[in-house]
């Protein structure tokens, strides 16, 4: 009875003895260096070992037949090999570097990224709200980066000698048609949208992806948050208004709603400015984001509405009683996007937007009413063939319908406008040859229904790692953009304007210090020209304009050298001339200053639970036309200086008190001059300095967050 069992056990034992096979070999990198700690094993079994300091490994297995050997190690691509078990002997396995790892080269020419996800962030997400001069406006924070010009009275982004209209803003990949709040001509415009809704910002000052078009100079990409952290209510009380926000979360979805009411009446009563306000600036805005997760996708819907109105009389050298200006603006923007995983490394991004912007303006005795309705539809597919080769392609359609009614004492009601339809296709591939060498090559085709014109824009960029922490990138591209609405509404017999970018970038990033230097050359063709003081019906329009911009941008950021201090310095040198609009010759436009310098610092004082911020902006003088001398845009203002300070004090985890002062030292900056239409008795044209509405601006705010667990803190808002 016992014998057969014993026999069975012996057989099993024998089997063990005979069936055991030894697998051994070494694991090395491409350059022959051994890999320590790699995990070598047979798929689906426990049998395996770790490689030692010589890259050697050795283990036994009872498995038979064809097996898959797997070698995995951090920062290398996983190696797999299927073969008969007897062949796993004296193996020499060479692992390929994982190009997804942190030290892989990134294409950085022209691009600044902000966010936790990007490998090299120039700005952190919260810099937008903690930069002293920015006053919580994301556009204001970006103006401290190189490549932007200081056009203090305007507030929009003027990039590398380009007009503000040459920069386009996108939310979740979908274009924003009217990104700025309307203001008077001596108060800077602000971005319409709350910086707290975004967790990623990419600012490109040139050479950007073929996915984006209709921008001659620059694109700004904003991504909304995928999933809010928790349910909460935010209350803000400010010297200029109040705000309320609420976030609700459910199993697979969430909704965030923000509303704010801004009224400058009390502030202006306390600190009167250079404008004579009949109805101080008042704005109501509301925005909401709804997000829903599906098993393999994410749907987001963003809706923003705002209504602004003000009435004032501004000083004007040609109107002794001043110039009357009244504005009512209603703006609705909705954007829906879906991001889905289709399997087999295919990804789908699709979305659309609708914008309705309505303005009612009263200027002197003229009344103007206009409505812009715009729609965009976009679909994009992404296929990852391997870590080293990815392909993006897609198509989009823009539809714009603009209508304006004009009337004054001399001209009876007149109506005019345009329909502008643009269709576009794009394709782009990411090629990563090694951790040191990567390229992006794309092509964009656009068809304008208005001009019946087809354009093709190639785009390419290449990056090469020159050392452990340094890299070089070059970028090249063609960019087309339709003439702006202020011209299109009077004349549609035109064609697209064109710019060509050439960029060379060096970036050094190590130990939380980043240095960037970029030189570029940009050439403009087919810019719109006209022959009157302002574009109107009587003007003669052409595409005969041209120009160039070239320069050097430098950036340095360091939060390592001095404890608790984070600072950055940006310097831009710009040489730009153009002939466009009604310019009689090629000259430097008034928005292009030769030298721009920004220094921004943030210092954390632990004992005071306070962050103090500092920013300094210097810009060399801007061109203006002095009719008392021959020439056009031949004179220059004095240079611009401003120092701003802010102080954020954490009263407790949920309460924060915030102070800021712009232009602390009260520099009397001059943005340009307005000359009288007719000379005075001595034959001299009198002038008036164009100054900001107020030299200084104060802001005090109290922000309070209420959350279920009482733990959410205002650090987010710091």
């Amino acid at each position: 009875m016992k014998t057969p069992i014993l026999f069975l056990l012996i057989c099993l034992g024998m089997g063990t003895l005979y069936g055991q096979i030894e697998i051994y070999g070494t694991v090395t990198q491409k350059n022959g260096q051994p890999v320590l700690g790699a995990n070598i094993y047979l798929e689906g079994t426990y049998d395996g070992a770790s490689s030692d300091e010589n890259g050697a490994f050795r283990f036994q297995t009872y498995e038979t037949g064809v097996q898959t050997l797997i070698v995995s190690s951090i920062s290398f691509e996983t190696f797999m090999m299927a073969a008969s078990i007897e062949q796993f002997k004296n193996l020499n396995i060479v692992l390929k570097e994982d190009v997804n790892s942190l030290d892989t080269v990134v294409i950085s020419a022209g691009t600044f990224e902000a966010g936790d996800n990007s490998k090299v962030s120039v700005l952190k997400p919260l810099d937008v709200v903690t930069t002293a001069s920015a006053l919580g406006d994301f556009v204001g924070a970006l103006q401290t980066l190189p490549g932007t010009s200081t056009v203090a009275e305007d507030g929009r982004l003027f990039v590398r000698g380009g007009d503000a209209g040459e920069t386009q803003i996108f939310i979740d990949g979908i274009r924003v048609f009217t990104p700025y709040t309307p203001t008077t001509n001596n108060i800077p415009a602000r971005g319409r949208y709350s910086p707290f809704l975004f967790d990623g910002i990419t600012f490109s000052t040139g050479g950007y992806s073929a996915e984006y078009g209709q921008a001659l100079s620059s694109v700004l990409l904003l991504n909304t948050i995928d999933e809010p952290d928790q349910e909460k209510t935010d209350i803000s009380l400010m010297t200029v208004g109040v705000g309320l926000g609420n976030t609700q979360k459910w199993n697979n979805s969430s909704l965030s709603v923000n509303a704010s009411y801004i009224n400058l009446a009390p502030y202006i009563a306390l600190f009167p400015d250079r404008n004579d306000w009949q109805k101080p600036f008042e704005a109501f805005s509301g925005e909401s984001v709804y997000r829903r997760k599906f098993e393999k996708g994410l749907f987001k819907m963003y809706v923003a509405y705002d209504a602004t109105n003000f009435t004032l009389t501004q000083e004007d050298i040609n109107f002794p009683d001043g110039l009357y200006f009244k504005l009512n603006n209603d703006n609705l923007y909705t954007n829906a996007s879906y991001f889905g995983d289709l399997g087999e490394s295919w990804k789908l991004e699709t979305g659309g937007s609708f914008t309705r912007a309505a303005n009612k303006l009263g200027i002197d005795d003229s009344e103007i009413e206009n409505v812009e309705n715009s729609v965009q539809l976009k679909v994009k597919l992404r296929k990852r063939f391997s870590n080293r080769f990815k392909l993006n392609f897609g198509a989009e359609q823009f539809l714009t319908d603009f209508n304006e009614d004009f009337q004054n004492l001399e001209i009876p009601e007149t109506s005019y406008g345009y329909h502008n339809n643009i269709s576009a296709v794009f394709a782009e591939s990411d090629l990563i040859f090694s951790r040191k060498f990567a390229a992006k090559i794309g092509l964009r085709g656009e068809y304008s229904g208005l001009f019946q014109q087809f354009s093709v824009s190639p785009r390419a960029s290449v990056a090469y790692k020159t050392s452990n922490y340094g890299q070089l990138s070059v970028a090249f591209g063609d960019f087309y953009q339709q003439p702006f609405g202020d011209v299109l509404k009077f004349d549609q017999e035109l064609e697209a304007q064109k710019a060509q970018h050439y960029i060379l970038n060096y970036q050094y990033f190590h130990n939380d210090r980043i240095f960037r230097a970029e030189v570029y050359r940009k050439e403009y063709k087919n810019l719109v020209t006209y022959n009157t003081e302002f574009p109107d019906f009587s003007s003669n329009y052409n595409n005969e304009g041209f120009g160039y911009a070239q320069g050097l941008d430098l950036f340095w950021r360091d939060n390592q050298s001095i404890k608790n201090l984070d600072y950055w310095v940006s310097y831009s040198y710009l040489d730009s001339e153009r002939k466009y609009n009604n310019y009689p010759e090629q000259v430097t436009p008034s928005f292009a200053n030769k030298h721009n310098l920004s220094v921004v610092g943030k210092y954390w004082i632990g004992e005071w639970r306070s962050q103090v911020g500092f920013s300094y902006t210097f810009a060399s003088g801007r061109a203006y036309t002095n009719p008392n001398m021959p020439g056009f845009l031949q004179d220059q203002t004095k240079s611009f200086n401003s120092i701003s300070l802010n102080w954020a004090y954490l009263i407790s985890q949920q309460k924060i008190l915030y102070f800021s002062i712009n232009n602390v030292l009260g520099f009397k900056n001059i943005n340009g001059y307005q000359y009288a239409d007719v000379p005075n008795m001595n034959g001299i044209y009198d002038r008036r300095a164009l100054q900001p509405a107020a030299d200084q601006f104060f802001f005090v705010g109290f922000f309070w967050t209420l959350s279920d667990d009482g733990k959410e803190n205002q650090l987010d808002n710091l």
Binding site: Y46, I74, L102, L126, R609, Q653, N713
Partner: protein, 209 residues
């Protein structure tokens, strides 16, 4: 009868062979870990996780080793490679075991490792996530000592950062330490550590004066 008994025993032995193999593998991995070979242990846990695709524990331990050894890592490239690996395995564990307080706590620790590395860069965005995770874990399993102590530690650290009195947390910390004595792990190889660290923290933060 005897024969029947014998064969049935043999049958049970064979059927539990897979379980025994799992136990043996896990024990071997824990031994490696105890003997100061955490990366060998992580590799073995990883091998087990690839073979036992239904069990969350091996993936959990791969993630845990990568997280724990990231707290002292100063090289950003290495840190991010380790934490990304930890996140991958933690995602695997999450998909196998839903609403698991231990996994939520480890996710909170993973985010904390980022903050420890660079508070200015990651603190502001990750700290609300961490609070939320401890809150969620606490709702699932309030008596789990790792949930209780992790939550108090986090709150205490935040209070200290804000220059507030940390004494009010001592009672909760003491309670959490006591939980380690009474808590029974829900199964073999289930997480059961953290007591030593919690006691140290109690001694450090709540000295009687």
């Amino acid at each position: 009868m005897k024969k029947l008994l014998f064969y049935s025993t043999l049958f049970i032995t064979l059927s539990s062979f897979a379980q025994a193999k799992f136990d043996q593998g896990m024990e071997q991995a824990f031994d490696l870990w105890k003997n100061d070979q955490p990366w060998e242990a992580a590799n073995l846990f990883e091998r087990i996780s690839q073979a036992e695709k239904e069990n969350w524990l091996p993936s959990f331990y791969v993630a845990q080793i990568n997280v724990l050894y990231s707290f002292s890592e100063k090289n950003e490239e290495k840190l991010s490679a380790q934490l990304n690996k930890a996140q991958d395995f933690l995602n695997d564990a999450k998909s196998l075991s839903k609403d698991n307080a231990e996994i939520l706590v480890l996710q909170a620790q993973l985010y904390t490792a980022w903050i420890v590395f660079d508070g200015a860069k990651y603190g502001m965005t990750m700290s609300p996530k961490i609070s939320q995770l401890y809150e969620q874990a606490y709702q699932i399993e309030p008596d789990n000592p790792r949930v209780a102590s992790g939550k108090v530690e986090w709150e205490l650290g935040t209070a200290r950062w804000f220059g507030k009195d940390t004494k009010p947390f001592c009672e909760d910390l003491q309670k959490a330490v006591n939980l380690f004595d009474t808590y029974e792990p829900k199964g073999k190889f289930y997480p059961n550590g953290g007591a030593e660290y919690a006691r140290q923290s109690l001694a450090q933060n709540c000295k009687e004066e």
